[in-house]
Amino acid sequence: MKVIPTPIQKFVSDPRTAEFVENTIIAVGTETALKMIGRPTFIFLDKEADDKKKKFAALKEFLYQTTCLGLYLTIVPAVKELSYKALSYILSKNPKNKESIDMFNKEAEVVKQAKKRYTKSDKFINRLINGKKDLAIKKAKEAWKKAHSIFEEKIQENSKLHLGKGCHELGAVIGSVITLAIIAPEISHFIVHPLMKFLGFEHPYKNKKN
């Protein structure tokens, strides 16, 4: 008996969906966005706390998660690149690893060039002159997508490319941990507290008359 509709089955079992969720930045970004919605909602539903404290805590949590998401999406690509360079430098000391990492970098460069050609052709001025359906832009986009899917297939089939891909993702993991566990709490302190004050939310324990 079919319980799950076919379109949902196709979406869940699609390799592109799996590839999408395996991307560290997308996974963590989505998780942070959901926390931004879920945590303040459940703070409001907490029957143990009083209304004033609930409002304060929910707003603070919402602003904190929003700040984390913004900082994460801004900082993590740069941290990921730095971590990847550091990791590949350490692992390249072994000649076998160096060969794998160089092979990965070569394949990744092909995709990078295809993306560059697409973004160069898809500039605003080109769209303004030629319109959205310009053939050159369409071709460049398709070429980039094809290069990307060939690259992903090669990674799946060739085990030598696993090391380079792993370095990339481990760099993203390290970047995520540094950004969300160390940088975001410190920076958010300078953003969230003034914002709470601006919105008229003092801490519920302040201004308690003796």
Partner: protein
């Protein structure tokens, strides 16, 4: 070096979102309370509450992520269309459903569990409020004052309802005229 190599190869072969969210939760559970407690601008009590809440949230988050991811992965056969290359399709379904399990944990499971767990955790850290303002009378005098008219409760005059050993607490409590 070998450990690093093995970690990179494992992640490169199949990158599970759990490999990211669990280390983040562990590090957040350590660093966030530390940063909160080292904040000099906040009051000690609110710092303690915030640090306990943050630590408990991440402690609850770690097993929730793992459990929800494994549970949703079990549903992969139901979400995979039958037919050719079923193993590859199952692998993709497991990856996607594992991620959805993590999303469900972040959105619903962890905040709900925190709401259930936090009151019990906070009880362990609760300090008794010993300020005399909140205890205008001793327990013995409360028992004596039970049926006493209000006039005698607030006026520090001769009060036939009070026995000599039971005295009200006069350190700024209920106010009243001093004669």
């Amino acid at each position: 070096m070998n450990i690093l190599e093995n970690i990179c190869k494992t992640i490169g072969k199949k990158n599970n979102p759990l490999y990211t969210v669990v280390p983040i939760a562990i590090c957040k559970g350590i660093f966030r309370p530390i940063f909160t407690l080292s904040d000099k601008k906040q009051e000690p009590e609110s710092k303690k509450y915030a640090a306990v809440r943050e630590g408990t949230t991440e402690l609850v988050a770690i097993p929730s992520y793992i459990l929800m991811s494994k549970l949703t992965e079990k549903l992969a056969p139901a979400f995979s269309p039958e037919g050719k290359s079923i193993e590859k399709v199952l692998k993709n379904s497991k990856t996607t459903l594992g991620f959805f399990g993590i999303c469900l944990a972040a959105l619903v499971v962890i905040p709900e569990l925190c709401n259930l767990v936090m009151p019990h955790v906070l009880k362990l850290f609760k300090t008794k409020d010993k300020s005399p303002q909140n205890q205008p009378f001793t327990t013995e005098t409360q028992l004596t004052f039970r049926n006493m008219p209000k006039y005698y409760q607030y006026m520090q005059v001769y009060n036939p309802y009070i026995t000599p050993i039971n005295k009200p607490n006069n350190s700024g409590g209920g106010g009243g005229m001093k004669i």
